[in-house]
């Protein structure tokens, strides 16, 4: 009884806390000074159309590096927790329809994924979204035909390689052009081109590969493949 009272009290308290936020919240009319710098900087200095990508990859590059590490940690953590035992997943054999369409679909999903993270700096989306699409591709493949055997060593290699390459580019930025993770090490190229905006696309594709392989290994570990 007291417990429910306490929970109710807590919820009312939280509401009271957020209430002033909501009551006198008025939408902003224009960008604040920092956001305006980002937009101009992204267009003039980094020559990248997608401002969010420039913010993610360069201006707040350390965040994204941290972000990738968090995902890497999650993968390793889940691996540590669940890898301990071989669970024989009784997989219901998928219908024949799923089998055939999946072989076509998987390839298309892979291409879509690669497209997303290579064009991160041009179109919305980027490393994370591309990586997830690739992971869902692998998931489809995993679910569709039971006996596919994921080659773990390649997965680990891709993961580690992309991580180290990402850090390598960062160090190159530090060594060549005064800032850790500075995209200036590659030519900025023309605005809107595929090979433009310095190292941003390279970084984002590496992130894409890493996120893709990590999420796949999480799914594989969670799914408990044979």
């Amino acid at each position: 009884m007291i417990r429910n009272m306490a929970v109710l009290l807590a919820v009312i308290g939280l509401v009271a806390m957020f209430l002033p936020m909501v009551t006198d919240f008025q939408e902003r009319e224009n960008l604040n000074e920092l956001a305006a710098d980002y937009v101009e900087g992204s267009i003039n200095d980094l020559n990248t159309p997608n401002v969010v990508t420039s913010v993610i990859v360069t201006y707040r590059g350390l965040d994204t590096l941290g972000e990738v590490t968090v995902l890497f940690l999650a993968t390793v953590g889940v691996g540590l927790l669940l890898k301990g035992r071989k669970e024989d997943m009784i997989r219901i054999s998928s219908s024949e329809l799923l089998g055939t369409t999946s072989s076509v679909l998987v390839a298309m999903i892979m291409i879509l994924g690669i497209y997303i993270f290579t064009h991160g700096h041009l179109t919305p989306g980027g490393g994370f979204q591309g990586g997830v699409v690739i992971a869902s591709g692998f998931l489809l493949m995993l679910l569709s035909n039971v006996n596919v055997k994921m080659n773990h060593s390649i997965m680990h290699f891709v993961e580690s390689f992309s991580g180290v390459a990402y850090v390598g580019i960062g160090v190159a930025g530090l060594v060549l052009a005064i800032g850790f993770l500075n995209p200036g090490i590659l030519p900025l190229g023309r605005f809107g081109e595929l090979f433009s905006a310095g190292a941003i696309p390279v970084i984002y594709s590496l992130i894409g590969l890493k996120v893709g392989s990590e999420l796949t290994s999480i799914l594989v570990t969670m799914g408990g493949e044979k």
């Binding site: 990508t53 989306g125 997830v132």
Partner: protein
Amino acid sequence: MIPVIIIGLGVIMLAAAIAAVYFKSLLASIISAGVISLLASVIYLILGSPDVAMTEASIGSGLTTVIFLFALHRVRKGKSDD
């Protein structure tokens, strides 16, 4: 026009959230959590951030729901109490 869509989506999402909390079966509440994420990605689109919409759609509704299902499967293999 836009505010109407937003309010509609909002109501559905709130309903799904409350449903997720009060559903008896785990599977149903996982699905409704997935629905919330899906609608959330639509809201992000309206609020003018496509990147986030894509991420939310793929990670929020896609992967999180899959992970939940895998976990549920692992757990339910024993006996189906939820």
